[in-house]
Symmetry: C2
Subunit: 145 residues, 2 copies
DNA sequence: TCTGTGGGTGTAATATAATTACATAACGTC
DNA sequence: GACGTTATGTAATTATATTACACCCACAGA
């Protein structure tokens, strides 16, 4: 049983309010991401989905697409991995919020910030539709190591 | 013949000054990137490297590693593609400068900004060692389309 | 009740991206 | 000449992701 029931319940409500269907597969993938508390590879999710055997790639990639589209998860581009969205579910995640990820390469945890401003020095006239912002380094606890 | 001879000569000098060896393969890959003027896939570089046939993945990935390590090229993480560094070669590229890429999804060009500051709202004590910042959208010329 | 229709899933095959492992070559140094 | 270092060639493999097609099911309208 997950220790993140609370988060999943919140996701459930979040989806219900918006007509998104958080099916068993999708919910299970989100649960795996939440429990991991850090970046997880798609193929590891696949393995975890069907311990006995045979979940296929599309199963997990479809779930991940749904979760990222809905704002419940993020892709960590430079790692080809995925992570649950950590912010609370009180606001609409489908907006154009920009997510910044702070990834500790030492303890493999992710810290997340949502910012609401555009880049300060974009080229004249450039209209941003999507942004990828990832910082790699060491979190406060690992700086000492 | 490349129309970017000037850039390549500058790269040549840049490497000479720093004891980096810009070998023919590496130079050729850089040339392909410069000529493309936008993100290029590793396997496309492979194909272009040996028109007659059989360049293998390690050839191009090794060259790309050298170029990115040296600051002469960047990986566009969210596209699994690579692009030549567009800034001038007057300063040391191996520092901890942060590169911001502005990628126009319409005309497939990349604009580049080097910034010298840390993220404003990093978690307390987080020490950044590497950052990935990519903005996708439409450049000024394509906003109209 | 029948019959579409659309969203979601199962499965096999394939495409795309990147690495490993090992052999060879080129070059400088002792 | 023997050796170490750096770069390259080549084959095989691993890792990541998509396509295509079949099936199921809930639901709306005739």
């Amino acid at each position: 049983m997950s220790n993140a029931t609370h988060t999943l319940d919140a996701a459930e409500r979040y989806c219900a309010e918006r007509g998104l269907s958080l099916t068993p597969v999708r919910r299970r993938v989100l649960e795996l991401l939440v429990d991991a508390g850090g970046p997880v590879k798609a193929y590891d999710l696949m393995a975890a989905l069907k311990p006995g055997g045979s979940a296929q790639p599309p199963t997990v990639y479809r779930a991940l697409n749904f979760l990222t589209r809905s704002g419940l998860a993020h892709k960590v581009e430079a790692l080809n991995a995925y992570t649950a969205c950590l912010c609370d579910y009180s606001h609409d995640k489908s907006g154009h919020d920009t997510v910044q990820l702070f990834i500790c390469e030492c303890c493999d945890t992710i810290n997340e910030r949502h910012i609401h401003k555009s880049p300060t020095d974009a080229p004249e006239g450039f209209r941003v539709s999507r942004s990828v912002i990832e910082y790699y380094g060491r979190c406060a606890r690992c700086v000492a190591c």
